[in-house]
């Protein structure tokens, strides 16, 4: 279990992490979500004792990280795949980590096998692809067989097979009763793995809730209908007390409705349906809405044409 209390980090005037408090519980995958620059990595670095917090506290099973005598058996962390000396072989990289924590040498072979790097164990890390580097980082995290695991953007640079592998890995680690804390800026990725969500934006806590609750609260589910007998269906649905919204191009949407009820209703009145499908507004949209005000690096949506026009107007104004 990880407890974060009032965690704050300032770099000069800039507040990177602002009074953050949350708890990461064992047995489930907790997603740590936020747009780029939200303070996810800074928070994780403070959790691992790499950065000193300006204020606040992080406790790992009740202890400060730098008090842990055998940290790798408590926490395994993947911070970034590049935190490796490129000239050292994968085996020696893991060996020096194992030795610093008194972990038996045999364990190095085990984790290399787990992540599928046994064949390249003696190769220099420099020559590894991003995906292999990511696997080496994960091997380092698993080395101490820790009860808490932290992954910072683990799917970055992985191919679909690798992404699938890491999703299942995280789920199985959590199922063994471990605490799993995963950061991402992709809501869709989190929706597939995480049971609990901690969302931050500009260093502030935006949500700390279960995934199911987040989905229920932030995404709209509706039934999408297309029919050549639009007027009749509208009458029938209206008569049954179902609210229908007409969206463009002849598509009808029923908020929170069940396709079964609508289908049976249509069949009873012999209405032809061309489409009857349950829909869910994307979580990505919900996440973007939640973090809209807190995105640090906005891409300007002004098109070049707009710019030119305002520039031109300025000229005509003067002329």
């Amino acid at each position: 279990m990880i407890e974060v209390e009032g965690l704050t980090k300032r770099y000069g005037d800039k507040v990177a992490v602002n009074n953050l408090s949350f708890t990461v519980r064992p047995g489930i995958v907790t997603g740590f979500l936020g747009p780029n620059g939200a303070g996810k990595s800074t928070t994780m670095r403070m959790m691992l004792g790499l950065d000193r917090p300006t204020a606040g506290d992080v406790r790992i099973d009740g202890t400060h990280y730098d008090r842990l005598k055998d940290p790798l058996t408590y926490i395994g962390a993947l911070l970034d795949a590049k935190a490796v000396h490129g000239g050292r072989s994968a085996f020696n990289h893991l060996l020096c980590l194992a030795q610093s924590n008194g972990i038996p040498r045999g364990r190095v072979h085990e984790v290399l096998d787990t992540v599928g790097l046994t064949a390249v164990a003696r190769k220099k890390a420099k020559g590894f692809s991003l995906g292999m580097g990511q696997r080496l980082g994960i091997a380092g995290a698993l080395l101490g067989d820790p009860r808490i695991l932290m992954f910072d953007e683990p799917v970055n640079g992985l191919d679909p097979e690798g992404i699938h592998w890491i999703r299942n890995l995280m789920k199985s680690l959590a199922a063994q009763g471990r605490t799993v804390f995963v950061s991402s800026h992709l809501m869709s990725e989190m929706a597939l793995t995480a049971e609990h969500l901690v969302v931050i934006g500009q260093g502030r806590l935006l949500a700390d809730t279960t995934m199911a609750d987040f989905i229920a609260r932030n995404s709209r589910s509706f039934v999408r209908i297309r029919t050549p007998q639009r007027e009749r269906l509208l009458d029938v649905l209206h008569g049954a007390g179902v609210t229908v919204v007409e969206s463009g191009s002849g598509v009808l949407e029923v908020d929170g409705g069940k396709p079964e009820t609508i289908g049976e209703l249509a069949a009873r009145h012999q209405i032809v349906l061309h489409e009857l499908s349950p829909q869910q507004a994307s979580l990505e949209e919900a996440f973007m809405q939640l973090t809209a005000e807190s995105v640090e690096y906005h891409a300007h949506s002004e098109t070049p044409r707009d710019l030119r026009r305002s520039w031109g107007e300025d000229w005509t104004g003067r002329g």
Binding site: E3, G27, K69, A83, N92
Partner: protein, 295 residues
């Protein structure tokens, strides 16, 4: 039996209130327990780790290889040149060991480089974050690095200088017999001194956190005072010039071979005590900064 009173039980966070093992889930279900035996780690673990690190990168072999090549190669070359050109009686009263100086002077550069790389390269590659997560006791990491580096640098220097000294003593039969203290200084003494210079470079690497920058500083420290002193012609600067000569690292290296540039200044084992003081100060700064700064 009294239990210590919590300052404010209401405000106590869940982790204090919860009974049972600290890592138990709130629901009472136990967290994961690893079959791997948990050991309390100590400095020995960190030393083993640093030993693996230093022996598993190529830059160690390169810098030490160049060091041995310079010390032994130049040492032997100088000896052969002197032997070929010296006429009868030239070397009378001279210590044969003093010809080892030139190799060590040049060889100190790769040692400085290795010292810097031992700490600074981890910052360049990002490895330092992995290291510090594995061993959150930052002081222990730096201590282990210092011990491993010093041991390697000392042993390699001792073997190289010892070899050159033995060759010199065997070659120059018409020179005087070196005293026991001269033997000690030209082998053990100079090895301590060179390893300490490397240790200073290691501390500077930890402070600067940038390999090229730290190496530049160390090479500058090695050569600049002497070069500046050479071009100090003005009489009014005579005092400063003499001090730069006497305390420049090449001159202090010469002390180990009784080949110092001036009659005054450090002598005997003085250079070792000076290097010890400077290195201790650098380490105090390195430790303080390591604790204070973010990794």
């Amino acid at each position: 039996m009294s239990t210590p009173q919590q300052p404010s039980p209401q405000a106590a966070p869940a982790w204090q209130a919860g009974p049972g093992p600290a890592y138990a889930a709130p629901g009472g279900a136990p967290g994961y327990t690893s079959p791997i035996p948990v050991v309390r780690t100590h400095l020995g673990n960190a030393i083993a780790s640093e030993w693996t690190k230093i022996r598993s990168v190529r830059s160690t072999m390169w810098t030490l290889g160049v060091f041995v090549l310079l010390v032994i190669g130049i040492g032997l070359m100088v000896a052969l040149l002197v032997d070929a050109n010296a006429s009868e009686g030239d070397l009378a009263g001279e210590s044969p060991l003093s010809f080892g100086f030139f190799g060590v002077l040049l060889g100190s550069m790769p040692i400085l480089t290795l010292g810097v790389l031992t700490t600074a390269s981890e910052y360049g590659t990002g490895m330092i974050r992995t290291t510090m997560v594995a061993c959150p006791s930052r002081g222990r990491v730096l201590t282990a690095k210092a011990i491993v580096f010093f041991a390697i640098a000392f042993v390699v220097t001792l073997v190289s200088t010892g070899f050159v000294a033995m060759v010199d003593a065997a070659l120059f039969t018409d020179a005087r017999e070196p005293s026991q203290s001269e033997w000690l200084k030209a082998t053990v003494g100079v090895s301590f001194y060179v390893a300490l210079l490397g240790l200073l470079a290691l501390a500077v690497g930890s402070i600067i956190r940038h390999s090229a920058g730290a190496i530049t500083i160390m090479i500058g420290l090695l050569l600049a005072p002497l070069v500046i002193a050479i071009f100090m012609f003005s009489e009014s600067l005579e005092g400063l010039r003499d001090a730069l000569f006497e305390y420049s690292i090449p001159s202090q290296l010469g002390v180990w071979y009784s080949a110092e540039l001036t009659e005054s200044g450090p002598s005997g084992w003085d250079p070792l005590w000076i290097a010890l003081g400077v290195t201790a100060a650098a380490f105090a700064a390195a430790f303080a900064l390591l604790e204070k700064r973010d990794v």
